[in-house]
Symmetry: C2
Subunit: 454 residues, 2 copies
């Protein structure tokens, strides 16, 4: 055999029609990714577009929130000590001397025996130190009867009680939640600095491929990887452009790669990554920069590659053309790269549940296995599929089990971690489903004012 043996850094041992003699370990590639990929730079985006983005720098409150003492209830502002001893039988009486409305300075002030009508959010009038809710009052003309004693400060929202000026509002790296946008708005942030979205070019190669969603004809089939991968990229916070399908021609693929190198942050090349005669991509990447790995001890994504071009700044993932292998290689390598570039938690965005195996799960020692499984009656059923092209298996599957390289699998009954494709498939019954918390029988008279609910 004329094949050069691998192992020397930077050489371009060509496995075409000779196969992979050695394969990279998943673990070493993960370590390489963790050591190599750093978050992108920041950009400013409007608050309305910032949900799910990652904060590039900590935000501090330039002003206190709330910016002034205000009422937290609809009711009457008064001096708390004047309610002491008040009850439904012996109400305290106050003179209503004015009204405080939201958004306006309150002209009225509260003196002895006086109260000011306040709406929620309205400024507290001078002289008052508490708000009695309207439910605990009765009004007749300018008189207000108060049937409850309240302590000082009750139902008053103090200046700065939510955030004091200078307080840390949110730390750098925060994945922004809907309510975080509310907090940022409260401190006057109309825009926010977030990590830039990774720009991802998805290059689809394969002589046999038609445009996605085309009916198969002759010996050509529709491409499936572009639609799948662009959705994965969007899920992981990237902005994807699809190029192709391109034919398996070395100059065409090389031109597409060099043509898109300058305006992208990751290159994902689907197809042409294995050891067939038409598999030009590994050689192209080795020629343009560094082919970090080609061939991985991972089933069903063995023909996966990893490279760096553009002076070591542009990561390239060589995804197998077979759709299940492509999904597996995306999940193991492209996804973590994208999430790290975007400053996100690099781990899988799948929910993990630990459940017992219904049947034994078989694997081969020496490689990581990405085994598709179903969950039935709280047990994990391996899906019997061998082919990497059985894309419907990842639609039928509820998730996958990762079998490490030193295991031959797991026996029936063994607990395994399942990474669920649907994040909420196994949640308990909850809000909005007709399985609410039990109503309180003692409170059955608490109906809505005018509910047709019975």
């Amino acid at each position: 055999m004329s094949q050069r043996e691998g192992g020397e850094s930077g050489s371009a041992a060509d496995p075409r029609m000779r196969g992979f003699k050695t394969r990279a370990e998943v673990a070493e590639l993960w370590n390489w990714i963790a050591a190599t990929i750093r978050p992108l730079d920041a950009e400013e985006v409007p608050l309305f577009e910032a949900s799910g983005r990652v904060l590039a720098a900590a935000v501090h409150a330039p002003v206190p929130v709330p910016p002034f003492d205000r009422s937290a209830m609809d009711g009457y502002a008064l001096r708390a000590e004047e309610t002491f001893g008040a009850s439904a039988y012996v109400p305290a009486v106050f003179q209503c001397v004015g009204r405080s409305r939201p958004g306006q300075r309150c002209a009225a002030a509260v003196g002895v025996g006086e109260a000011v009508q306040v709406a929620t959010g309205a400024p507290m009038p001078a002289g008052a130190d508490a708000v009695i809710p309207v439910e605990a009052t009765r009004r007749d003309g300018d008189r207000v009867w108060v049937s409850e004693a309240i302590p000082q400060g009750r139902h008053v929202s103090r200046r700065g009680e939510d955030l004091a000026g200078g307080d840390l509002v949110l730390p750098a790296g925060r994945l922004l939640r809907p309510q975080d946008l509310g907090v940022l708005s409260a401190v006057g942030a109309a825009t926010v600095r977030v990590i830039r979205r990774p720009r991802v070019v998805i290059l689809i190669t394969g002589n046999e491929l038609l445009a996605p969603g085309t009916l198969a004809r002759d010996f050509q089939i529709p491409d499936t990887n572009s639609v799948m991968v662009q959705a994965l990229v969007a899920r992981d916070g990237g902005a994807a452009r699809v190029v192709g399908p391109l034919p398996d021609e070395e100059p065409t693929i090389r031109a597409a790669i060099t043509g898109h190198a300058d305006d992208s942050d990751v290159l994902l090349v689907s197809g042409g990554s294995s050891a067939g005669p038409e598999d030009h991509v590994p050689g192209i990447i080795a020629g343009l920069g560094q082919l970090v790995a080609h061939g991985v001890a991972l089933r069903p994504a063995s023909p996966t590659g990893l490279g760096l071009i553009r002076q070591g700044t542009l990561p390239v993932v060589l995804l197998p053309g077979n759709p299940v292998s492509c999904l597996c290689a995306y999940d193991f390598f492209a996804g973590p790269i994208l999430r790290r570039l975007g400053g996100r938690p690099p781990g899988w965005p799948y929910r993990c549940v630990c459940l017992p195996l219904a049947r034994k799960l078989i694997s081969l020692v020496g490689r990581v296995d990405y085994a598709r499984v179903r969950i039935r009656d709280g047990q994990v059923e391996p899906l019997a599929t061998s082919g990497a092209s059985i894309l419907s298996s990842v639609s039928r599957a509820d998730g996958f089990v990762v079998i490490p390289p030193d295991r031959e699998g797991y026996p029936a009954g063994a607990p395994v971690d399942v990474w669920c494709y649907d994040p909420h498939a196994l949640d308990p019954p909850q809000a909005g489903q007709p399985d609410p918390p039990p109503p309180n029988p003692d409170q059955s008279s608490r109906k809505a004012h005018h509910t047709p609910l019975g």
Copy 2:
């Protein structure tokens, strides 16, 4: 007291400056929502935009996938029985009589003692019934030595093995995953019928409100609910438009509601929902249709309302202006309505974990409590916040615990269900983090061809 007592169906008892004397139960409102809200009609969208959408009708395969027998490996197609007995020491020898390439009809056929070179995805040549992977072969000119015996059918992907013609591809109601788009592409679906996105108008009311992200001035504060709610709506599959902030003027708010009734599927009105003198929204809704409930036994979202206008076809949720109450009311009522309209699972899109309480959690009997909590060292810590306006509490919180109306709370150590705002906060270490599965010491020689990984 001059107040009319509530309870009569359809009447318009006005609680302004009198307060809620009775409140609807969360459970009965959930039942009302489940009984009233039905999924919207369908629309056709391009496959590239269908991720995360909900399939409106089942999809069947019009053609088999794959559409022809093809090779699943790079290697040589041959007759399996001719490899029987082959080994590294006694290889079987074949004559290579041609080549099958992806996308093209294969002209060559395999006879006795013959093999055809095949690439992954290429059509199987006539006469062959198995593919020997290139790794198990050696080639010299037209001769191919095969060092392994393989059974019939090995590494052949049969016509229809993924999906037979007529097979169910995906059922109606499916929340489309990235890989589902791949499967739909494989059966030639360029577009897909999905449930229409709910069109949501978010109406912000309040005299005290400035545009979001504005610095507070005088007694005005920036609105926080529009940015928060539009992000929640997007998360739940809706398309939101924000109107406002509008002043607390009855004619202005009424005009905005009627003006947006015809081109929306849900109306969310923030503010003006309570019992203050400026709270016009409940009366407007009662006048335009039906105020199903006003006042809910839910803390901190008691001033929440639910209505139906436009001849009973347009649900309206009256959200409290206080931001934490607004989030709580959205989570309890608006979210389930939106998800049901969109055909999604109606339950909370939060992950639920069951963990013990670090301290006791106190609630009042007679209402549902939405208690914000943190998770520290595997224990649940209640966040000590009373104010519904403390928006930073829902940024500091990891999630919430729902305390049913018949409970006074839970003692320290009691296990409680926490609904986590971040879906993956508590996942175990996983792919792409530097905590990979243990490498197999027996396989330490399995390096990539030319990896700089060491």
